[in-house]
């Protein structure tokens, strides 16, 4: 149901909050504090996500978590631990399957004040997240010979391409580049490429280019400013999105969003649970905060997003209360308080 801009903005929106494990709870509460200081119209519904066995023996997420997400459609998630040999698939995988989170979006923008050898990075990686090399289909053909299957389908390729162009249009990005290796994987990446080209035809206002994966890597580390929006299949997306995160400072400062079917979107921090510093008030909430900002933008609440993002960047640029990973020795609570103060001062 379309809602007029002001009506939407004056509503209180429910967001499912999944704090996660390790440092998850502390960074989630940091984000909630900052949102409160900014008076953002968000009502948090906290849910925990653990793997439980449903009827029929299939692993699934708890029904109350699913129900909350289905209702609110928007989620913010902290890091979840991936147990080894727990008998069930990773929680991230379960979430992905439950909500058909087909697009992983990572905007990588250089953070002024957090210096890396790369300045002026401003690109977005859009990664197909359901198929490709991560289909999980592997066989031992004969002893000592293993085959892993990479699956590329017309539907998934078209869907991700459409999302990429829509994203570019909605976010005033001028070009979309499809990343592939169709010279070697002619049929699979060729299919992906063809779908991208087809979709590009219907978005004449956006420039479309194609580039080999190796050329992208080669050029990315020399001059990342030449890239805008990148769309690609699963594996290349995994590698490139992490490479780009490395350009701006790592997973501790990189936001990420997962877009699913039926309007569901889950924004998350992609770093680990950091069990060694959990509960010690040392964690850096930047990644989760920037993901929350991405979420606000996705919901159309741009002014709140801008306010919180500016406060966060100002705190980092100021360098007075940085957490350890950013080069300071302040506590998470001090970092959070500084951002809250700036947000309040902006009003």
């Amino acid at each position: 149901v379309a809602m007029a801009g002001n009506a939407w903005r004056s509503m209180i929106h429910t967001v499912t909050m999944i704090p996660g494990d390790g440092i998850g709870p502390e960074i989630s509460s940091a984000v909630m504090k900052i949102f409160e200081a900014a008076k953002a119209p968000i009502q948090w519904e906290e849910r925990n996500v653990t793997a439980i066995k449903g009827p029929g023996g299939k692993w699934m997420i708890p029904p109350d978590a699913k129900e909350s997400m289905d209702q609110s459609k928007i989620g913010l998630k902290g890091p979840l631990k991936t147990p080894i040999a727990a008998g069930h698939p990773s929680m991230n995988l379960l979430l992905r399957k439950t909500f058909d989170l087909y697009a992983n979006v990572r905007p990588c923008v250089s953070i002024e004040g957090y210096k890396t050898p790369y300045t002026d990075v401003n690109l977005v990686t859009i990664r197909e997240n359901t198929e490709g090399e991560y289909s999980g289909i592997e066989h031992v053909i004969v002893d000592g010979v293993v085959q892993s299957i990479k699956l590329i389908t017309e539907d998934a390729s078209r869907r991700i391409a459409e999302y990429a162009f829509e994203y570019a249009r909605n976010n005033q990005r001028s070009s979309v580049t499809a990343v592939h290796k169709a010279n070697i994987m002619r049929m699979s990446d060729g299919l992906f490429l063809r779908k991208c080209r087809e979709v590009a035809e219907t978005y004449k206002d956006i420039k479309f280019t194609e580039m080999y994966l190796d050329t992208v890597c080669l050029n990315m580390v020399q001059d990342p400013t030449q890239f805008d929006v990148l769309v690609m299949p699963n594996l290349y997306g995994d590698i490139l999105s992490d490479l780009c995160a490395g350009l701006i400072g790592g997973l501790g400062v990189t936001p990420s969003g997962n877009i699913g079917a039926n309007g569901v979107a889950i924004f998350e921090s992609v770093h680990g649970t950091a069990p060694d510093i959990a509960g010690l008030d040392m964690a850096n909430p930047t990644a989760l905060l920037l993901s929350a900002v991405m979420m606000l933008r996705h919901m159309g609440l741009h002014e709140y997003g801008k306010k919180i993002e500016t406060a966060c960047f100002d705190t980092i640029r100021d360098k007075k209360v940085l957490t350890k990973d950013l080069g300071g020795n302040s506590k998470c609570s001090e970092f959070t308080a500084d951002i809250c103060r700036r947000v309040v001062d902006m009003d």
Partner: protein, 376 residues
């Protein structure tokens, strides 16, 4: 026993860096008649032909005892006669120098990548790329010295694809114990011969448990036989992140085909770009040398602006392989001093020199060091 290949010189003289790398496989010496070697030369597309000419002229200038057998491969033809001729020539001569062959990826799958065909037919299972920071080349990171060993024949490049159901394509990635053991052994032996202390295997075994799992298992098995060399593993996405933030932590990296493609291009970009780094492809019986990142350079072809460094350094690797170290050293020294001291830089390095300017500078450098050259 462990002799480092690099010989560091004080900053005043030419840094005689060990761009050469002696691979481990014991190969029979290539064909040699009348004291002269015959080497297959495949110019390729884009900037390939002009650079191949420069190599030929420079070899003539330096009186290198190498005769090139020129084999042209027309990549626009769908028939495979040209590439088969090239393969036959390389089987005959044992060694080759090549430029990159363009692959039109809009053609149907029956048209295979010519470069890949060469590598798989000749079983050139090891791709070696040595990425080193060069003084005088402006880059964001300094002191990089990484040797990349990449499995070159299987993995994602097996070219086995089918459309099982309309709209659903399956592409097979093959990992075998035999090839994984082979490349791991090559890596460890090469590490030993070149004084490398640590090998990092790059993989994605948390997702591709069987495939990359097998690769890792083989690497670990081989590693146990080389206790003098440290061995660790790294997931590919983390590896790329580490490379762009702190590339100095890596010594030698070992990986399957596709990750090798990504990592070698990242490393080449970090040390200054595709114009600087040569690449070598080794098999049990044959060796093929080329520019490391395998670019055609179509957009700068025939403009006298391409950087000849990578191709010339590749030709030096070729000379090392032919056991002509004096010529290799002479040309390598002159080429590197042109980049690092004279700083005659082409556009890709931020300079304004043309290819011929660079070649002229290299010839002058060679002439001034004294050995007999043709008079020109």
């Amino acid at each position: 026993m462990l002799k480092p290949e690099c010989v560091g010189q004080p900053s005043i003289g030419v840094v005689s860096v060990g761009f050469s790398c002696r691979p481990c496989a014991v190969q029979p010496p290539p064909a040699r008649y009348g004291g002269r070697h015959t080497v297959t030369l495949i110019p390729g597309d884009g900037i390939g032909p002009e650079l191949a000419n420069h190599v030929r002229e420079l070899f003539w200038f330096c009186c290198v005892p190498v005769d090139f057998e020129l084999v042209n491969v027309d990549s626009s033809l769908t028939a495979e006669d040209d590439i088969n001729n090239a393969i036959m020539s390389i089987r005959r001569n044992g060694v080759a120098l090549k430029g990159n062959l363009e692959t039109n990826h809009n053609l149907p799958p029956s048209y295979k990548s010519r470069n890949n065909l060469l590598r798989t037919s000749l079983d050139l299972y090891a791709n070696v790329m040595h990425c080193q920071s060069l003084p005088g080349v402006k880059t964001r990171h300094r002191n990089i010295d990484i040797m990349i060993i990449r499995e070159n024949t299987e993995g994602e490049y097996s070219s086995l694809e089918h459309e099982s159901v309309p709209g659903v394509v399956e592409c097979l990635k093959i990992i075998t114990r035999v090839n994984s053991l082979r490349i791991a052994d090559f890596a460890f032996q090469t590490a030993r011969q070149n004084g490398r202390r640590r090998i990092t295997a790059v993989h994605k075994a948390n997702i591709m448990k069987l495939g990359d799992g097998l690769f890792l298992e083989c690497c670990k098995e081989v590693a146990s036989g080389y206790p003098d060399i440290a061995f660790d593993t790294l997931i590919v996405d983390n590896a790329t992140m580490q490379l762009v933030s702190r590339p100095q932590q890596f010594d030698m990296m070992l990986m399957p085909n596709l990750y090798g493609n990504v990592v070698s291009n990242v490393c080449a970009g970090l040390v200054g770009g595709p114009g600087l780094v040569p690449g070598a492809n080794h098999g049990e019986h044959y060796a093929l040398f080329e520019a490391g990142t395998r670019n055609t350079g179509r957009s700068i072809a025939n403009r006298n602006s391409a950087n000849p460094t990578a191709m010339l350094l590749a030709s030096c690797l070729l000379l090392d392989h032919l056991k002509l170290p004096a010529y290799a050293h002479m040309i390598r020294r002159a080429t590197l001093s042109t980049v690092t001291e004279t700083r005659m830089h082409t556009a890709d390095l931020g300079g304004q020199a043309s290819t011929s300017d660079v070649i002229k500078s290299i010839r002058n450098a060679i002439q001034s060091t004294g050995p007999l050259t043709q008079s020109i």
